[in-house]
Symmetry: C2
Subunit: 455 residues, 2 copies
Amino acid sequence: MSPRVILDPEEMPKQWYNLAADLPKPPKPYLGPDGNPVTPEMMAPIFPMNLIEQEMCTDRWVDIPDGIREVLAKWRPSPLHRAKSLEKALGTPARIYYKNESVSPAGSHKPNSAIAQAWYNKQAGTKRMTTETGAGQWGSALAFACSQVGLDLKVYMVRVSFEQKPYRKVMMETWGAECIPSPSDTTEAGRRVLAEMPDTPGSLGIAISEAVEAAVSDPSGETKYGLGSVLNHVLLHQTVIGQEAKAQLAKFGEKTPDVVIGCAGGGSNFAGLAFPFCADKIAGSEMDIIPVEPFSCPSITRGAYAYDIGDKSGMTPLMVMHTLGHDFIPSPIHAGGLRYHGMAPLVSAAVDQGLMSPRAVHQMECFEAAVQFARTEGLIVAPETSHAVAAAIQEANKATEEGKEKVILFNLSGHGLMDLKGYQAFFAGELSDYELPQEEIEGFLAGIKGFPKVV
Amino acid sequence: MSPRVILDPEEMPKQWYNLAADLPKPPKPYLGPDGNPVTPEMMAPIFPMNLIEQEMCTDRWVDIPDGIREVLAKWRPSPLHRAKSLEKALGTPARIYYKNESVSPAGSHKPNSAIAQAWYNKQAGTKRMTTETGAGQWGSALAFACSQVGLDLKVYMVRVSFEQKPYRKVMMETWGAECIPSPSDTTEAGRRVLAEMPDTPGSLGIAISEAVEAAVSDPSGETKYGLGSVLNHVLLHQTVIGQEAKAQLAKFGEKTPDVVIGCAGGGSNFAGLAFPFCADKIAGSEMDIIPVEPFSCPSITRGAYAYDIGDKSGMTPLMVMHTLGHDFIPSPIHAGGLRYHGMAPLVSAAVDQGLMSPRAVHQMECFEAAVQFARTEGLIVAPETSHAVAAAIQEANKATEEGKEKVILFNLSGHGLMDLKGYQAFFAGELSDYELPQEEIEGFLAGIKGFPKVV
C-alpha cells in the first residue's frame, strides 16, 4: 500500500460544507457598534455583496463555482499521507494520517480561500484588494490568488514580521502584489499609531485596521478587503480539506477517525479539516476533535466566550468568540499565525456546544515534534503546523499506553521553508516555553467589559 | 480536463533507464591519472561497490529496489501539469507541459538520486556520508535522504553560499546533518586553501575535494562520498522523471513531444527528463531535446569536448565531458546550481552524437520568464529552473510564429523558495546579463592541455 492517496481530479469537492447549518444551537449574529445585528449593507464598503451573502448563509452546502475549481485544480485534491515512518519511530499501534496542504503554490491551506475571495471579488467588479498578514502565509496566498484572477493587491504586513522575513515580501512581489510594513503612513490608523509609538513592532489588529481603512476610503468603491481566517465564508472555503480527507481515508480502508486535529490561530485550517467530520459527530459518530493552540496565546482554552471586535480599533463587527480581548499583546512566539486574540465564531460555537476539545501545547514540545516529524516523514512543517504535529504525537502516545489501534488524522497546514529562522532559534537553544499569566488575561479582557453580553 | 495528471502509486517506474545502452557510440571509459581506464577497485575508497557497479553498468534497464521505491512513494509519482495559463498569456498554439519535481520534501529532483545513494550505501554497510553543496539543493536532498535511511552526513557548503543562504544549513540540521562552510580546517585540502587565501569565497571544486578527502581518510572505511550530479548512476536514478512524464503525456492524449527541455548544470535533472525520450529519438522519433545553460557558464555550447577532471584538485577520474576546464571561475550568477565547469559525460556524449541541441540563455530573460510563470502558473521556480522556463517560452513563441501546435515539455526541477534573494535582486534592478568572453574560456581550457585526447 502506498503511503499516500491522491484523489482523481474529478473527485475534488463540488460544494463547500457549512457547519452553521448543523450546529445544534445556531450561531449568534454579528452586532454593530449600536448593539443591533449587522446588515449586509453595513458590510458592503468592506466586502463585495456575493461574499457578504456567503458570510450570512445558513445553507448546509454551497456550490463551488467552476471558475474557482479550475484554479484549485492546479494543486488539488491535495495528498493524504499515512505517517508510517513516524508511527514506527513512536512504536504506536495508532495509525496516523495527515492531509498535506503544503503542496499549494503559496505553501499552505490559505489559497483555498484566497482563490475563492479573489474570484468572487472579480465577479463583483472589484479592481483591487487590500489585506493584512502576520507571519506572511495569508498575504502570500492572496498575492498568488490575485495574480490568478487579475486583481491588484496591497498587503499590510506586521512590521516585526516584515523585518524578520524579508522574503515573504519578495514572494508577494513575484506574484505582483505590493507589500508594506504596518503601521504605515498610508492610512489614518497607521499614522495615529506611528505618532504615538514610532518604534512599535506593529500587530495584526493594527494591520487589519489599516487594510480595512485603505479599502473603504477608496471613493470609487472598487477596492475591497479580504480576511484570511475567522469569518464564516473563509472557513467555508476551507472545507474542501476535510471532504477530501474523508474520501481518502476511505481509500485507505479507514472509517471514522478517532481523533481529528488541527492547529488553530484564527481557525480556518482547523475548521477546513474538522467541520466535515464534525457533521458526522453531530450525527452520532464518536470522535475527539481537537483544535490546538499555543500556551502563549490560549484563546480557546483560557479566553472568554464573549462578544469582541476582530481588530484593534473596531473596524469589524462584534462577534461571539473565544477571545483574550482585542487589547491582547502576544509574546514573540515563532508561530506567528497563532497569535490572534480571538477564535473563529463557528469554531468558538462548536467548542461552546461541546463538540470539540481544545488543547494548548508548549513551544518547545512543538519544535521537538516538528524535528521528529522531519526526520521521519521528511517534511519540514510551519511552526503553526508543529502544534498539530505535537498533539498528534500526544494522541499516538496515549494510544500506545491504552494499547488501542486508534486512527489519528491531522492537518499539515503548511510547510516551514519560509520560517526556518524559528528552527534556527530552536537549535541554538534560544527558545523557551511561555504560559500567559492569568492576571494578564484578566487585564486584556477588561477591554471588552462594555460590549454586549452573550445570552 | 484537469490541468494536472498524477499517476497511481503503482505506476511509479520499477526500473531506471540507462542511456549508455542505446547511444550509437558507446561512452568513453573514465581514466586514472596514468591514462589507463579506472577500475572499480580504484573507486572503492570513495563509493560503495554496489554504486560503482551501477556507474559502470551498460544494461538498458536497472531494477529499482523496493526499499528505494518505498521512500520515493512519499512524493512520487510527481505531477505533470499543462501550463494552460502560461499558454494563454503567450497566445501560443503550443501545448506546454511541465513535470513538477518541486514537490519532493527537499523541493527539487535531487532526492531521486539522494534516496538511492543513501539506500545503497546503507546496504553496503556505510555508516556516514560526506558531500558538497553549492546552492544547497543537493546538500538538503542528501540530508533528507540520510535521515530516511539512517546515516550520518557531513555537508561541505561553498562558503559564499553558506553565508548568503543561512537557512539551507538550518534545513540540513533539521534533517540531522552537519553543514560546514568550505574551505574548512577539517581537511588537508581545506587547510591548504585557507592558508593561501583566508578570505576565499570557496568553490564547488574545493568543496568536492574536501568532501572526498573526508570520506577516504576515515580509516574504518565506513564513510563514503555522494555526488549530486554528473556521474552515470546519478543520471540513472533521475530517469523516473522522464518515464513518468511519458505515461502522463499519454493520459493527456499526447504522443511524442516536439520539444523536451531541461536546465543543465551537472546534467542530472535534464537527463532525468530527457533520456527516456532520447531513447525514442534514437529509435526514430523526431524531436528537439534541449539542455539549457547560462551564457555565463556555457559548458555545452562553448566548452571543449575533452577529458577533464570533475573537481579542482584531481580527486576524481578523468571523464570525457563538455567542459570549460576545471580552472573555470564562475561569475556570481544567481543560478548557483548551474555554475559547474563540466557537463555529465552521458549528456556530453549525446550532444556530441547529435541527439541534443544545447542552448544558452541570459539571466535577465530567465528571471523575466520566471516572474511570468509565477504570475500565470502560480509556482515560483528555482533560478536554475528559470532557464528551462525561458527556453520553453522561446519555443512557444517560435510555435506561434510558425503557426504550429507543438507539444513542449520541460522539467520544473525545483522551487525557488530558498532562493528569493535572487528574485529580490532582480526586482531591485541589481542583475544584468553576462556572457563569458572567449579569451577567458581559452584561458581556463589551458588547464586541460596535458590530459589525454578524445579519439
